[in-house]
């Protein structure tokens, strides 16, 4: 039997984490929540909802938390790892679709893309589409790979990819760094259309212009100075 593990990086997400974990445990063998130095009850609630909680003593950023979660999943002998956001914007059934895509065995890396039209119409707000497109263009310019949703937090890694990935950046920029890893390590890649749930809460948590600029600078630094 294959071991499916969901990794959820979380920083001060006590409002949503319990629901996210409860939905995730239904479709995975184990849910690992990386409590990234939260100052609220995120870790406690995640544990009560059935997750294995790995705790960062201090906040290190979403990239660092993903790295820790993936490493934890590898140690727990995961055959497939799917990462999800803690703010409730991802649906468990979409995570299941990413697992299913990985289970077909012909890909190492899957992105759940909000920009790719599946059988349901996309629902991304216009300013998000704009930010995302800029992120995609920057990712393409720096790393030479075109993806339709470079900033999606719903992703899947095969066992091999999870074992070899090496994220060096700590923040949001790690989302594009995955793409660099994919290229450098010759992972086979697929995109699965997903539908994000946008609430005022999840929108308030995401990227804004200044975060975007910071991410861009760090990515350029990562690309040229390692």
């Amino acid at each position: 039997m294959t071991q499916r593990i969901i990794v959820i990086p979380a920083f001060n997400e006590e409002r949503t984490i319990a629901d996210v974990v409860c939905a995730a445990v239904k479709i995975a063998d184990r849910v690992v929540v990386v409590d990234d130095g939260s100052r609220d009850r995120t870790g406690v609630l995640a544990k009560e909802s059935g997750a294995l909680v790995v705790r960062h003593a201090v906040n290190r950023g979403v990239g660092a938390a993903l790295g820790t979660g993936i490493e934890a999943a590898v140690r727990l002998h995961a055959d497939a790892v799917v990462t999800m956001d803690a703010d409730g914007q991802h649906r468990a059934e979409d995570a299941a679709r990413v697992f299913d895509r990985l289970a077909q065995g012909d890909v190492d890396f899957v992105i759940g893309s909000r920009m790719k039209r599946g059988d349901e119409p996309g629902n991304m707000p216009v300013h998000r589409i704009l930010f995302n497109t800029i992120g995609n263009i920057l990712t393409f310019m720096l790393f030479g790979v075109w993806v339709t949703d470079s900033q999606s937090g719903l992703r899947g890694l095969s066992h091999g990819a999870a074992r070899t990935i090496e994220l060096r950046t700590n923040g949001m920029e790690s989302l594009s760094e995955f793409i660099k890893e994919m290229k450098d390590r010759h992972w086979r890649f697929a995109e699965v259309p997903i539908k994000a749930i946008y609430t005022d809460y999840s929108l308030s948590k995401g990227q804004n212009f200044f975060v975007g600029v910071k991410v861009a600078i760090k990515l350029i630094f990562r690309r040229f100075f390692g």
């Binding site: 990386v34 294995l52 790995v54 705790r55 960062h56 003593a57 201090v58 290190r60 660092a64 790295g67 820790t68 490493e71 934890a72 140690r75 060096r168 700590n170 630094f221 100075f225």
Partner: protein
């Protein structure tokens, strides 16, 4: 003599004395001491005889000595900024490594405890 010349000279002498003290204490290598002394001597020379910068400026092809000093200062600041940015990134990564190693160690300890508790409760009474 202008006030600025006195201030700069005094500061340079102070800085040189600090460098010598650090060298004597063994906190600084001879090469670094020599470089610092050279640098601050240069500052004193430029402060007392500003026209010397014009010689350097002419040689470089920049109009005025003061401009040359500004360009060089700017260049140095950019270089230092770049270096500190890189250094901070380095520290950031190292901190993440430490935090991660700690987190994973705690996770494995928790799992081991869980396992032994499970074995205790399912074992023969």
């Amino acid at each position: 003599m202008h006030a600025i010349q006195i201030v700069l000279t005094c500061f340079a002498v102070f800085a040189m004395s600090r460098a010598v003290i650090r060298y004597r204490r063994g906190d600084m290598r001879l090469l670094h001491l020599a470089l610092w002394l050279l640098f601050w001597t240069g500052v004193v020379v430029v402060a007392l005889r500003p026209e010397t910068t014009n010689l350097f400026a002419n040689w470089l092809g920049v109009g005025r000595g003061v401009d040359t000093a500004m360009y060089l200062a700017l260049l140095m600041i950019f270089y230092l900024l770049f270096r500190s940015f890189g250094k901070i990134e380095d520290l950031d990564r190292q901190l993440t490594r430490v935090v991660r190693a700690n987190a994973l160690r705690e996770m494995e300890a928790d799992l081991a405890q869980e396992k032994s508790r499970d074995q205790d409760s399912s074992g023969p009474r």
